[in-house]
């Protein structure tokens, strides 16, 4: 029965509709398209590279299609998941999207929901970042899915990502479990021409029916639910086509088999298909790496002389094989345990598995330009003054653009979302040399709402003596400028209620909470000095300074058009180059001169206020 439903389902999803045009879509846009086409009713997300464009494109699809889906940027990933889960219990198809470290934040809810199950189809889109390119870890969400006992789909490119988003909803509803869709960065941020299907209106699985033994299960019933979950997984593993190996290259008679999944499977197939004579291998892949049909994979291993496992980033398929004597992979040390499996790494792995010494293909040492805070970024002026006022302090930092304060020596630690505040509490309670006991934590506004509130309450309660600077640029800048809870508009522009930052800070019990403009050199410096006096001299507890100035990327058109030049008074003290680190200011070596590049200057005027020899001058408006 299940197979029959599925074959119809596959046919419907995989048949592109000739009447609709193809679009050149980002993987995340293709996922959003699949979500809209499935008739999803509620979707929630917290931004994080490489996942952010899923919600951004849902907003675009909602508007362009006039679709009634409810969308929100939630305060964090845990709330995003719970929003989606609540909607699912109420009978709606729902989605939550996040990056893989966001799944860590949501994990408490996700693991419990696996036992309880769902009503409306619930898909959790979790974007992984092998490399890592823009993340703290290289964790594998397929492994996380195994740990949580949830099915996980692993698309190989944007086209398949759209198809799998639709399949994930069907699977979730059929088996009443949340389903994880795990695209890697090379799917999220690839673009491909994708055939579109017809969007379905929103769905309804019927009204919520009270059943506390399931939806509010106490431990006795959890045991029953755990058994039911195990039965569901077993059924999926044995019967679902996506859990079976699919032969994508070869006739099954080669001596070497490659088993692969996800975006890296695309590199494998492109390599082998460029020259089938040079690569006599059978390639198998799987769409659902957990729960995969381990026995079927074992048959492949047993019928080949050797099997190479190529998957990112943990040995998920490899561990589901019982007899690995003929297998080479991560567990044998043949596949690197860290780093992205690029086409070059894949090439070298396949060559070596074929018993050849590869003419090693590897990228030369490149001198990548380091990222830096934008010219005119208000974080730069805030960091400059923090360093000036709190010399020799320990600076606990956080996750966002302002992590780039490391370039200015104004960020000493970066752990995860919200950790600047929690860690500052720990640093001040350790027996430090009093000379060095000053601690300044910096966190962005969006990150503060996300994970900064409980540690701030903790700091107030425990009389932790540190200064917290909330870098309030009014947006979630690093990931593309998504709204924060302080905005009056929700994700799709519909009206919300702005949650005032100062009220939240004071509500945490903070007595010293002041707002200043980091562009205003004198006033902001004096504000920081007041905080220093309150916390470090009078030792009255945590003080909070809110550095408020809109992000230059999203405030274009509202900035001044002043132009600045460096005059002859310049004594080359290098403060602007070394301490301010503004990309608009450069030292021209042959002439030993400092110059301001008007192409990139955003006219914040901070260098003009900061220059110790008053050599930077404002010039008449340039037209």
């Amino acid at each position: 029965m299940i197979d029959k439903i599925n074959s119809l389902m596959y046919e419907r999803i995989m048949t592109p509709q000739k009447s609709l045009p193809s679009m050149f879509l980002l993987g995340n846009e293709a996922i959003a398209r699949g979500v809209i086409e499935s008739g999803c009713t509620v979707a929630a997300a917290y931004p994080g590279t490489p996942s952010s464009e899923v919600m951004e494109s849902l907003v675009k699809w909602k508007k362009s299609l006039g679709h009634p889906i409810y969308l929100e940027w939630s305060v964090n990933e845990k709330v995003a998941f719970e929003t989606a889960y609540g909607a699912s219990l109420a009978g709606s198809r729902s989605m939550a999207a996040m990056k893989m470290v966001g799944l860590n934040v949501a994990s408490d809810s996700v693991l419990s929901a696996a036992y309880l199950g769902v009503r409306g189809g619930l898909v959790v889109v979790v974007a992984d970042d092998p490399g890592p390119h823009s993340s703290q870890t290289e964790q594998d969400s397929r492994f996380f899915a195994w740990f949580a006992k949830l099915p996980v789909l692993d698309p190989c490119n944007p086209r398949e990502a759209r198809d799998m988003a639709l399949l994930a909803f069907e699977l979730s509803e059929l088996y009443e479990v949340p389903v994880i869709l795990r695209p890697c960065l090379r799917v999220c941020h690839a673009r491909q021409n994708v055939a579109l299907g017809t969007p379905h209106p929103t769905t309804d699985a019927g009204l919520f029916k009270k059943n506390w033994q399931r939806w509010a299960a106490i431990p006795k019933f959890r045991l029953v639910l755990h058994e039911e979950l195990n039965q569901k997984l077993n059924k999926i593993r044995l019967t679902e086509p996506l859990a079976q190996p699919e032969k994508v290259v070869g006739n099954g008679k080669a001596s070497l088999a490659v088993i692969t999944s996800g975006s890296v499977s695309s590199h494998v197939r492109d390599l082998v298909e460029t020259d089938k004579d040079a690569y006599p291998v059978d390639v198998y892949r799987v769409g659902m790496p957990f729960p995969a049909n381990g026995e079927a994979f074992q048959d492949i291993v047993d019928s080949h002389k050797k099997t190479l496992m190529i998957e990112e980033t943990y040995p998920v398929l490899e561990l589901q094989l019982k007899d690995r004597r003929k297998v080479v992979g991560r567990l044998t040390g043949d596949v690197p345990d860290q780093g992205e499996l690029t086409p070059e790494v894949v090439h070298n792995l396949v060559e070596r598995a074929l018993g050849r010494t590869p003419g090693e293909k590897s990228a030369p040492d490149i001198k990548a330009r380091r990222p830096s805070l934008c010219p005119g970024c208000p974080h730069r002026s805030a960091f400059f003054l923090i360093k000036k006022v709190f010399q020799k302090a320990i600076y606990t930092g956080d996750i966002g653009c302002y992590t780039l304060g490391i370039n200015m020596g104004a960020v000493d630690t970066c752990l995860c979302m919200g950790a600047s505040i929690g860690m500052a509490g720990g640093v001040v309670h350790s027996p430090l040399d009093r000379e060095n006991a000053t601690v300044v934590a910096t966190i962005g506004d969006s990150t503060f709402y996300h994970a900064g509130i409980p540690p701030l309450i903790n700091a107030v309660h425990t009389r932790a003596q540190f200064v917290l600077v909330i870098m309030d640029n009014g947006t979630t800048a690093m990931t593309g400028g998504q709204p924060t809870p302080a905005h009056v508009e929700l994700a799709d522009g519909s009206p919300g209620v702005a949650v005032d930052l100062e009220q939240v800070v004071r509500g945490c019990g903070v007595e010293f909470c002041e707002v200043g403009d980091p562009y205003d050199y004198g006033a902001f410096e004096s504000l920081l000095s007041d905080a220093k006096d309150y916390t470090c001299e009078k030792r009255r507890g945590v003080s909070v300074v809110i550095a408020r100035r809109p992000c230059v990327q999203y405030a274009r058109g509202h900035t001044s058009s002043d132009k600045f030049v460096v005059g002859d008074e310049c004594d080359r003290c290098m403060t602007c180059i070394r301490d301010l680190e503004c990309p608009a200011i450069t030292f021209i070596k042959p002439e030993k001169k400092i110059s301001i590049n008007w192409d990139v200057c955003n006219s914040c005027g901070f260098c003009f206020q900061m220059c110790p020899s008053k050599a930077i001058k404002k010039v008449a408006e340039h037209d």
Binding site: Q192, N193, H267, T342, I366, R369, L373
Partner: protein
């Protein structure tokens, strides 16, 4: 099958170029897949895009396969030149003269003279579209840029594109 690398610094409009080319090719019914850089690197860091035209599944160009390297910043060319095949061509935004394997155009200078250095990406696109073997010809790209609905942006982009095409005929 044509493969292109586009490189530069965050903020120079590499993603915009990749997206325009991909959408035009999609409209023409061609198979196309690309990869772009997002995240922290867009804050002025090194950026590249891969664009592959043909029946590829992976969005990444293997080392030594690309036909063109379009570089908006000469200091980024060296970071990407290993992607180029031996007979491949570098199209570089630079004031230096062209030489075998490298064609150069002062796209920043031309863009500045049109009012904004931000147009340099469209200038270099206009120039590249005139080169032999480039996967799309100038007219096709131009008529795509004409579809932009915001009038000011359309006018700016068309002026920049035409200036790039013009610069090629002057060489």
């Amino acid at each position: 099958m044509t493969e292109l690398i586009l490189c530069g610094r965050g903020g120079q409009g590499i993603v915009f170029l990749t997206r325009q080319l991909g959408q035009i090719l999609t409209d023409l019914g061609r198979d196309v897949i690309s990869s772009e850089t997002h995240g922290m690197a867009v804050r002025g860091g090194s950026i590249n895009s891969h664009l592959r035209i043909g029946a590829f599944l992976s969005p990444l160009i293997p080392i030594g396969d690309a036909d063109f390297l379009i570089s908006l910043d000469p200091s980024e060319t060296a970071n990407n030149i290993h992607y180029l095949e031996p007979r491949g061509l570098v199209v570089e935004n630079s004031t230096m003269p062209s030489e075998p394997g490298f064609v150069r155009i002062d796209a920043s200078g031309i863009a500045r003279s049109l009012g904004s250095v931000r147009l340099e990406n469209v200038v270099i696109l206009g120039y590249a579209s005139t080169l032999q073997g480039f996967p799309l010809c100038s007219n096709v790209i131009r008529s795509h840029l004409e579809k932009e609905s915001r009038e000011r942006i359309r006018a700016q982009n068309l002026a920049a594109f035409d200036a790039g095409v013009q610069a090629s005929s002057e060489k």
